[in-house]
């Protein structure tokens, strides 16, 4: 059953590498496994160099080219005549050509390229480069083998040349941001191969080559306009804002107050303009405390900002102190304010030594400061790099747990979830307002506020609500997507790159695992979001701030990811969804309950066939229910037209069954 749907979804090629990365109407790759049980590798192999090393790479390249020469005739013997004829004719090239999106154009094609698949062995076919993707197709296998890598996902390209048997062979390694490194081999002489590499280099890093990102060329039309998903005024209205304490201010309408904040900000009503200017000057990057979320009952709020510029001399800002006091006063339920500094205490101290710092509890009366001890973007980048090492291309089964442990990735996930749980608990049980910041308030702060909001507010656990959450807390509040992801930028060593958003989505996935019925969206939704974080197909994650987006006219010139998703929501819906309404979700931030997101990080490995979703049965049950419902309604109608029975004994049950299964607390 599962395999059938997988096929329909696009993973039905014999390729172990599906092509969900293209981000089109496809399910995430449901890779077809090459087999499990390769755990008992001959021990001799441990003597060889590690799979990632350069030496090993050269050796593979030689092996691949040699075997193709030697084994060539053997393979063609076995291939049927028809197939041979097909192969020799021109039709083959046609059949191995890449399908294109509206707006996409082919830049280069090379025949007889060999893809060195780490799982199923080398396969040769045609390699096509467009301005959006790299596409490899081979008819050597049945069903045809297809590998698709969108150019946005490429972090760096490497080539090597090898002398073997008097021929110059060339190898190309494509290091990707989504945990894989496809490798190709080809003979160097042919001119078109050179073209391939040049085109790849040009279009994979359009920003560095002064070309537009593909999102500006993409011409697909969708029935739904995703840019309309987030309307800040509507979202604040949903939260019950403005009210007597909080106002939707237009003070940043032209991004003059703070160029990384959105145009509309929710700030305390009573704050005077000149006081606000002082607060602006006292906060790093001018990112003043603004409201993210307000508790519908207690009026406790989550506000976010950057670090105060205290500096080594313990500078004070009376207006900033007053500002926080006002935030506290807006919540009548508590006489405390909790400031969560996401950083490690020691790092905050280092920051204090140079301009930055944190609120002193002696100046900010009634405020308590808590450090959440979350390491910075560099630590996270390093952690994901290690994770790639232990998951791609092969997994060492015997040491799987300790290998995962050594990356610390799950430990950081645990820290983030812990921090968010503490924020949510402070809000819910303590009825106390919280202020969250790190250094600049656009990385860890965004992670924490959005996770806490996800726990507190069931709206954000719907498809639409989650889109709003991302648009609001991440995109509009200036998480620097362009810098952190490095869209179209050739400089892969840029230390500003970091998988902060990936980490956030991982946390959401962990929550989804712990509460399988509490989210309206499914795993595919999250994977799709991550694929398009890199793909540059949609405009959603481009640029660093609202100001930059307005300038680039993003909303008119590109398509939103939500247009694509909301045009076919059923693909992304979790059939188990039950609205938990006002129930606060507290995930257990224990490593015992955290698990590596194999379906995302290790999805290229065919051994990791995703866990069989039990959805099929449920979907069938839902279908049976709706059918029965229809029948009941029909009978009900029949009965009432004939008016045979009294209306009283019919009234209750159909309406009862018709209501969706909402469980309230």
């Amino acid at each position: 059953m599962e395999k059938l749907t997988a096929g329909a979804g696009g993973g039905g090629y014999s390729s172990e590498q599906g092509s969900a990365v293209t981000g089109v109407a496809r399910k995430p790759p449901r890779p077809r496994g090459a087999g499990v049980g390769s755990s008992r590798q001959p021990s001799v192999e441990t003597l060889e160099s590690p799979p990632g090393s350069h030496v090993e790479w050269c050796r593979q390249l030689i092996a691949a080219t040699i075997s193709s020469q030697i084994a060539g005739p053997v393979s063609s013997e076995a291939i049927s005549r028809d197939y041979k004829a097909l192969r020799d004719g021109n039709r083959l090239a046609q059949m191995e050509e890449a399908p294109c999106f509206p707006g996409e154009s082919i830049k280069a094609i090379a025949k007889d390229v060999m893809y060195i698949c780490p799982f199923t062995g080398a396969v040769s076919g045609t390699l096509t480069v467009t301005d959006y993707k790299l596409y490899f197709k081979s008819l050597e296998r049945e069903p045809p083998f297809i590998l698709e890598v969108n150019l946005g996902v490429i972090s760096r390209l490497e080539t090597i040349g090898v002398q073997s048997h008097g021929e110059n062979s060339c190898g190309m390694e494509i290091v990707c941001k989504d945990m894989r490194n496809p490798r190709f081999a080809y003979k160097q002489e042919e001119q078109c191969k050179l073209e391939i590499f040049e085109n790849l280099n040009k279009h994979a890093f359009p920003v560095s080559s002064n070309l537009p990102l593909f999102a500006f060329l993409y011409k697909e039309k969708f029935p739904v306009d995703g840019w309309k998903v987030y309307d800040p005024v509507a979202e604040y209205k949903r939260q019950g804002l403005p009210n007597e304490s909080w106002t939707i201010s237009k003070v940043n309408l032209n991004y003059e107050l703070c160029d990384t904040y959105p145009a509309l900000l929710v700030i305390p009503t009573s704050i005077k303009d000149e006081d606000l200017r002082r607060v602006v000057a006292f906060r790093a990057k001018h990112r003043i405390p603004v409201l993210s979320w307000i508790h519908p009952e207690s009026q406790a709020t989550i506000t976010r900002c950057s670090q105060p510029l205290v500096g080594p001399s313990d500078k004070r800002c009376i207006e900033d102190e007053k500002y926080l006091q006002t935030i506290m006063d807006a919540n009548a339920q508590s006489h405390k304010l909790t400031i969560f500094d996401a950083r490690q205490n020691s790092v905050a101290d280092t920051n204090k030594a140079k301009e930055g710092g944190y609120e002193s509890e002696s100046f900010y009366t009634n405020a308590e400061l808590t450090f959440l001890e979350i390491p910075n973007i560099h630590v996270m980048r390093e952690s994901l790099r290690k994770l790639k090492e232990v998951t791609y291309p092969v997994i060492d089964e015997a040491k799987w747990l300790s290998n995962v442990d050594s990356t610390h990735w799950l430990e950081y996930i645990r820290l983030l979830l812990t921090g968010a749980v503490r924020i949510a608990d402070k809000m819910e049980s303590g009825k106390t307002s919280v202020v969250v910041h790190c250094s600049d308030g656009w990385d860890r702060t965004a992670q924490l506020t959005s996770l806490a909001m996800l726990m507190l507010d069931s709206y954000y656990r719907t498809i639409k609500g989650f889109e709003v959450l991302i648009e609001k807390e991440w995109i509009s509040f200036g998480h620097r997507f362009a810098v952190r992801v490095g869209h179209g930028d050739v400089n892969h060593t840029n230390s500003e790159r970091s998988p902060i958003f990936v980490q956030f989505i991982d946390c959401v996935w962990q929550m989804m695992r712990q509460f399988p019925a509490a989210f309206e969206f499914n795993e595919l939704f999250l994977i799709t979001i991550l694929d398009h974080l890199y793909s540059c197909l949609f405009g959603t994650f481009l640029y660093n701030s609202e100001q930059e987006r307005v300038k680039a006219e993003l909303h008119t010139k590109t398509v939103s990811l939500w247009s694509y998703i909301n045009s076919q929501p059923e693909e992304f819906t979790n059939p188990f969804y039950v609205n938990y309404e006002n129930h606060v979700l507290y995930p257990v931030a224990s490593l015992r309950h955290l698990e590596l997101w194999v379906n995302y990080y290790v999805r290229w490995n065919p051994h990791m066939r995703p866990q069989m979703p039990v959805h099929q049965n449920l979907k069938e049950l839902l279908a049976i229910r709706s059918e029965l419902q229809k029948k009941v309604d029909e009978l009900h109608r029949e009965a009432s037209t004939r008016s045979l029975s009294s209306s009283s004994d019919q009234g209750s049950s159909p309406s009862h069954s018709a209501t969706p299964l909402h469980t309230t607390v």
Partner: protein, 739 residues
């Protein structure tokens, strides 16, 4: 309803009074009146040995030193705590065990007892207890519960007695006759639960074996050579062997070296198991004998046979026990602090225990055997020293993977009867119910089997008719000393034990209940939780449903990429990859390719076909695929409870839906027939709403109001290793360019 006065029970059945020490009796009599009011539900044949009032049971949920006062008792069945507070009803677990209440610990379920004096925790060993007693008692159970009792508020005399009583009855060696089942069966009226109702084959009669042979179309014969155990006491009275095996063959080495039939594949090849020949035999004789036996196997089956000797490829029983002891320790947690401290070492401790690795090895071996039967059509003969330990694990796993019948509840129960009970697994010794340390190696062999089944379950839930809860409850039942299933080393052992103790007593043999008499433990409502609502009974469902599903997918046509969408049913040709394999067999590309792997092709061809839940089932064996059985191991740990979540949430959703469908069906029926026809109605469990349930449902319950999230207490720990990066600033244009 089972309130037989303890005094009455004793006077009419003098046979077990001897186990009660005179001291116990005195105390019992003294407090008879008091207890009767407090402990109304003793089981038939159950007597109270000793008790102590004013014992404080710590509530572990809130990590404080708070608790509830009550009476701690020790009976010939269990250790029980009865709270003084009457309001304990609402905290009762959602599904009640009729034999045991929330705070009851069967004596055979006690794993370790620790005494705490002045904050010092000391393991208590039976037979070494002096007159002193600790102020605090920690009881760790084999079902992984941990109880903390304080004895400081109890009267000194009572505290001393209860401490000694508990230690004596749970930690010291005893004879089989002391096991509670004996006094229970002498007293209780014969079990009303007739075996006719359950479709579980017990494999105690010739007929059961014939039924099984017919079902699998096995070409073997049922042998009665061991009727009345004339040949061997370890073998069952009836078993199945190849036609060519004669009664003389069986007699020759008392059943050793005989290939016993387990199961037949539809292709005709079959699975056999065999105990090793005694070592004393001269080589020539045993070799010749073995040859004959192998010939016997191949002769009837017309297939070659492969011999799998388990001693060479799987861990020894001692290693099994050692590994499980380490593993189990990860879940026996005394305090919140300990929970969070151990959390930081979770992955490394898990790996160090090696338990998951053992599970993986067993599954892997089972896959190899499946491969022989399924792909190579080769009969397999599993050989093990006694052919009753890991042999049982593997033979049953192979059958579960190959035969969907064993994934139904009655099929699974029949399988346990066939391979384990009739197969002569030494439950008594392996479970160490009698605490006789020196005698035999205790090892959680049956638990290992359940663990492996659970791994299959978590990977392919819709293939199983029974639920995770069923497996967990079954693993708990091992330690309830009442079921004949788990109390004996062989069928002969059971039959002799069940004979009336004194020949002069005019009584019929005792009739021990089987664990499969689930109604003894649970009412039908609770038993509904044993059924997996996700079970897919038939591979192909209603066609109309299929169509609707397809129409949904067609929406994708308006979207990109469908251009290249392949037909999902496109032929699954194997030749192409075979060619490639041939190419690479000689010239390997790096270490990535491993075409020599034996089971690889089996997996490949299996994955090529759409997954059929009524067909072959293979486990995934990679690192991430083998998981910890969260329900069993973490259900009592309050810090690990997910409030409103856990995998139970999806199960509940499906159950709700099923209930709704039933309602609608009734509605349709009612409206179309215009009368109240009675439709078969299975009770659907309706408990508290989803959001207020714990992930450990149905095992623990908690007040919704008291819930606070668990927040790790040791955040600052162990993050120091990457300090050079940690000190870097986030916004550092000055460091850019450095990798």
């Amino acid at each position: 309803m089972l309130s037989l006065g303890s005094g009455g029970g004793r006077s009419t059945k003098p046979s077990f009074v001897s186990y009660v020490t005179p001291e116990d009796m005195k105390i019992k009599e003294k407090e008879e009146g008091l207890k009767r009011s407090k402990h109304p539900d003793l089981l038939p044949g159950e007597v109270v040995f000793c008790s102590a009032n004013h014992v404080l049971k710590y509530t572990l949920e809130d990590a404080s030193q708070r608790g509830v006062y009550g009476t701690l008792l020790c009976t010939n069945f269990k250790i029980a705590f009865i709270s003084d507070e009457t309001s304990s009803q609402e905290t009762a677990p959602p599904f009640k065990n009729k034999l045991l209440r929330q705070n009851d610990i069967p004596l055979t379920c006690v794993d370790h007892i620790y005494g705490v004096n002045d904050e010092k925790k000391k393991l208590i060993i039976g037979c070494q207890v002096k007159s002193k007693y600790p102020s605090k008692l920690i009881i760790q159970c084999k079902d992984l519960r941990v109880f903390h009792f304080s004895l400081i508020y109890a009267k000194e005399e009572e505290a001393k007695k209860i401490f000694q009583g508990i230690v004596h009855h749970s930690l010291e060696p005893k004879s089989l006759k002391c096991v509670f089942a004996f006094s229970y069966c002498e007293t209780a009226s014969p079990s009303k639960a007739s075996r006719k109702r359950s479709r579980t084959l017990m494999f105690e009669t010739k007929e059961d074996w014939s039924v099984e042979l017919d079902r699998t179309k096995g070409k073997c014969k049922v042998s009665s050579a061991n009727e009345d155990y004339v040949i061997s006491e370890t073998l069952p009275q009836f078993f199945v062997v190849p036609f060519a095996v004669s009664d003389d063959d069986i007699l020759r080495f008392h059943g050793k070296g005989i290939p016993f039939w387990c199961w037949s594949h539809h292709s005709g090849c079959a699975l056999f198991k065999m105990a090793c020949l005694p070592a004393i035999q001269e080589d020539g004789i045993s070799q010749k004998y073995m040859h004959r036996m192998l010939d016997a196997v191949t002769q009837d089956q017309l297939y070659p046979v492969k011999v799998e000797d388990l001693s060479s490829c799987l861990p020894a029983l001692q290693d099994l026990q050692l590994s499980y002891n380490k593993f189990k320790q990860l879940f026996l947690i005394d305090s919140t602090t300990e929970f969070w401290v151990s959390d930081m070492k979770w992955f490394s401790s898990l790996e160090n225990s090696g338990w998951l690795e053992i599970i993986r090895q067993c599954l892997m071996k089972a896959v190899e055997i499946v491969d022989c039967l399924e792909s190579a059509h080769t009969s397999v003969l599993i050989v093990e020293e006694s052919c009753s330990d890991l042999c049982c694990v593997l033979s049953s796993l192979v059958q579960i993977m190959l035969d969907p019948y064993y994934r139904t509840r009655s099929g699974f129960q029949s399988l346990v009867q066939k391979e384990w009970v009739a197969g002569g697994h030494s439950f008594l010794d392996r479970c160490n119910h009698l605490y006789q340390k020196e005698k035999e190696v205790p090892a959680p062999v049956f638990l290992l089997f359940l663990e492996c089944v659970w791994q299959l379950f978590q990977q392919h839930a819709p293939a199983f008719q029974f639920s995770e809860t069923y497996l967990t409850v079954l693993s708990d039942s091992i330690h309830i000393p009442l079921f004949s299933t788990f109390l004996f080393n062989s069928q002969h052992h059971r039959d002799t034990a069940m004979k009336p103790g004194h020949p002069e007593a005019q009584r019929s043999p005792l009739n021990f209940p089987s664990v499969w008499d689930w109604s003894l433990q649970f009412d039908s409502k609770a038993q509904s939780l044993f059924t997996n609502p996700l079970y897919v009974e038939k591979p192909i469902q209603d066609k109309t449903l299929r169509k609707t599903a397809h129409q949904k997918h067609q929406r994708q046509l308006s979207l990109p990429n469908t251009l290249s969408k392949p037909s999902p049913r496109k032929g699954f040709f194997k030749e192409e990859t075979d060619n490639l394999k041939k190419i690479f067999l000689g010239k390997r590309v790096g270490k990535w390719l491993n075409p020599t792997d034996s089971s690889k092709e089996l997996y490949e061809s299996w994955q090529r076909k759409p997954l059929d839940y009524q067909g072959l089932l293979l486990p995934y064996l990679d690192g991430p695929a083998i998981r910890v059985w969260i329900q069993r191991y973490l259900r009592w740990v309050p810090e690990a409870q997910i409030f409103g979540g856990g995998s139970i949430a999806t199960v509940n959703r499906v159950l709700e839906l099923a209930g709704e469908i039933q309602n609608l069906q009734k509605e349709v029926e009612r409206r179309s027939c215009r009368m109240d026809s009675s439709i078969a109605w299975t009770p659907v469990y309706s408990g508290p709403p989803l959001c207020s349930r714990l992930s450990s449902f149905p095992f623990t319950a908690m007040h919704a109001s008291s819930f606070r999230p668990a927040i790790p207490s040791s955040i600052r720990q162990s993050l120091g290793s990457v300090s050079s990066l940690a000190d870097k600033e986030d916004d550092d244009s000055q460091v850019s360019g450095v990798l």
